[in-house]
């Protein structure tokens, strides 16, 4: 049973049950999180904005509705956090950028509206790499976010505020967004579950766009079941997003529950050679490869048939991504012109629009955003388009073909989520190429638009390792089934959830240490 003592370490599913059973009120749950945020977020730095009064008011409204006997959904009263890329009506939204400092959007993103309608309580907006460009959250224009497992290390990125918040017990669960790995990699390095849905299955309406053909929002949670529940709450067709898929969302929570029973008989699992396999181990930490191999053995022990699968074009996913995403970003970020929202610089009456725009963007954007805009502009320039952007789009086709032929032989593909565990803050900030390498394993699924989940598979040097499970488009349920089986088997062997170990290795010891 969930009690006030363990509210901030409970799964969202357990909180939901306790709320429905009347064992806890939403105000109690919300206050427990707000208290913990007040006590520890000074160290962690997960949030850019917290409005305690608004959260308690929303929680009180749910409690009052429940007291009146109103019909409430299962998530009513459960708190949550949103990555600051999600537009929220009247609530400051910056996408981690100074160019949007102080902006209070006039509308809600579809996923924010759906979570509001479900009765969830918004705790706050989480830190992120500026415009979701980064793998460590160090590109935030506002603050550093620390990994709760070791506060000298990065929480991953770009959804690093969301990962740190959930891992540190500052939110039961959170929404992240993933363009090249920005849900999965931060989930992996903080010991969480993170799922990038099939492209088009969660509405992009109201997500501040980075790379429109790749961006997708999804859940970051403590358990596989929680991820499935949050995913179901935000998924489904939205006429306001023209790339939204108009077909039923597969049954996700039920797949997670069935998966946790541990029977994978007949499931065909392909281990991707190009992602850490024979001849492709450069840049991968041995500890990561060992944990992943153990996870594969666990799947085999539950009846899965495991084979190696070669996907040669995956070797070119990183260069293709770092042409396509900056190209789309250079176009998307043209909307920040200092006219309709956010910052305007240098408007002294003497300068014309072009000059004011250039000064505004110079002052409002950070270095990584500028680098990517310049790179994207280059890749789209006449004379370079075919060699760079056009060629990258063809490589994207080759990557999709590798997936398609793999699905002839296997039901899911697996790999490490990231080649390394969380690295030390500051160690890659001056080296964009080293930073980009964190996305090596997550990029193929992004480029092909297929679903992929990261689920914890143990520790290496005391830090979490993520296991990635990829499935065909619209077969997100397979990700949840296999991830839940792995989670259940590991928790049973360990005697507790991986995150329970954080109390002794990370935040508890660091926050008591003198700074």
């Amino acid at each position: 049973m969930t009690t006030t003592e363990n509210i901030t370490s409970s799964s969202a599913a357990d909180l939901s049950q306790a709320l429905q059973a009347g064992e806890l009120s939403s105000v109690e749950v919300t206050r427990a999180y707000l208290d913990r945020i007040a006590a520890t977020d000074g160290t962690i730095g997960a949030y850019l904005h917290v409005d305690a009064d608004a959260a308690l008011e929303a929680a009180g409204a749910v409690d009052a509705a429940r007291a009146r006997g109103e019909e409430l959904g299962p998530l009513a009263g459960v708190p949550m956090a949103l990555k600051d890329v999600v537009v929220t009506e009247g609530v400051p939204t910056t996408s981690g950028s100074k160019i949007l400092e102080g902006w209070r959007p006039p509308y809600d993103a579809t996923l924010a509206a759906r979570l509001k309608a479900a009765g969830t309580v918004l705790l706050g907006k989480t830190n992120m790499d500026e415009f979701a460009m980064g793998s460590s959250t160090e590109n935030s224009a506002y603050k550093v976010t620390r990994n709760p497992w070791d506060t000298d290390r990065i929480p991953g990125g770009s959804s690093g505020g969301s990962s740190a918040a959930v891992a540190a017990g500052l939110a039961p669960w959170a929404i992240g967004t993933d363009t090249g790995g920005s849900i999965r990699q931060p989930a992996a390095v903080t010991g969480l579950v993170g799922h990038k849905p099939t492209y088009g299955s969660v509405s992009r309406y109201g997500l501040i766009a980075f790379s429109s053909s790749l961006d997708q929002a999804g859940p970051m949670t403590r358990t596989v079941l929680d991820a499935a529940l949050l995913h179901e709450a935000v998924a489904g067709h939205d006429p306001l997003d023209s790339t939204s898929i108009d077909s039923p969302v597969p049954v996700l929570a039920e797949s997670a529950r069935r998966g946790a029973e541990g029977d994978l008989a007949g499931l065909r699992v392909g281990v991707v050679t190009e992602l850490g396999g024979d001849g492709h181990t450069d840049g991968y930490e041995p500890g990561v490869l060992a944990r992943v191999a153990e996870a594969v053995a666990l799947l085999e022990g539950m009846g899965a048939e495991v084979r190696q699968v070669s996907c040669p074009a995956f070797d070119l996913a990183l260069p293709a991504y770092y042409l396509i995403a900056p190209s789309e970003a250079s176009s998307n970020l043209a909307r920040f012109d200092g006219v309709r929202y956010g910052l305007r610089a240098g408007d002294d009456g003497s300068r014309d629009l072009d000059e004011v725009m250039a000064l505004t963007r110079e002052q409002g954007f950070g270095p990584e955003v500028k680098r990517r805009i310049i790179l994207g502009t280059y890749a789209l320039s006449s004379g370079y388009y075919d060699a760079y952007y056009g060629q990258a789009q063809k490589v994207r086709t080759l990557i999709t073909r590798d997936f398609t032929s793999a699905w002839d032989d296997v039901d899911v593909l697996v790999s490490p989520t990231s080649p390394t565990v969380a690295w030390t803050l500051g160690s890659r900030v001056d080296d964009p190429i080293a930073m980009y390498a964190a996305d090596l394993c997550t990029l193929p699924a992004s480029l092909a638009g297929v679903p992929a989940i990261s689920v914890p598979c143990g520790l290496s040097d005391g830090l979490p390792v993520g296991f990635q499970i990829m499935a065909p488009a619209l077969a997100d349920d397979r990700c949840y089934r296999v991830a839940a089986a792995l989670e259940a088997a590991q928790d049973a062997a360990r005697g507790h959830a991986l995150l329970a170990g954080i109390a002794t290795t990370g935040i508890a010891t660091k926050e008591n240490a003198p700074s």
Binding site: R104, G342, F365, L375, V395, V450
Partner: protein, 111 residues
């Protein structure tokens, strides 16, 4: 007009000169500083070197993928919906005047 000037002679792959970065920054409406130009030229040359690997792929007869979901011509009923209230939208603007966005002058002196 300079805005429409195409890039001069393409440089070899993996090279990106300081002048080219300055030109690209101008095209991108970024008033970058000299220090940034020095920094970005080096970093972008390294990035360009890495991304140029896409050239290694054999793409004869391969069609480009612009989008993971093969959808075309998404239609919906043409029904008028209420728009956002003007005052709410203008409240987020850096400058507004007479119920409109106020912009700096658009035409240069020479125009």
């Amino acid at each position: 007009m300079e805005f429409h000037r195409s890039m001069s002679t393409p440089s070899p792959k993996g090279q990106l000169t300081r002048d080219e970065v300055a030109h690209l920054a101008h095209l991108s409406r970024l008033a970058v500083s000299d220090e940034e130009l020095d920094l970005f030229a080096g970093q972008l040359a390294a990035v360009l070197d890495a991304v140029a690997q896409v050239g290694k792929a054999d793409v004869a007869d391969v069609t480009p993928t612009t989008h993971a979901v093969p959808m075309t011509n998404v239609m919906r009923p043409d029904v008028a919906r209420p728009s956002l209230p003007r005052d709410v939208v203008l409240a987020g603007a850096p400058a507004a005047e007479d119920d409109r966005f106020r912009v700096p002058r658009i035409l240069g002196e020479e125009a």
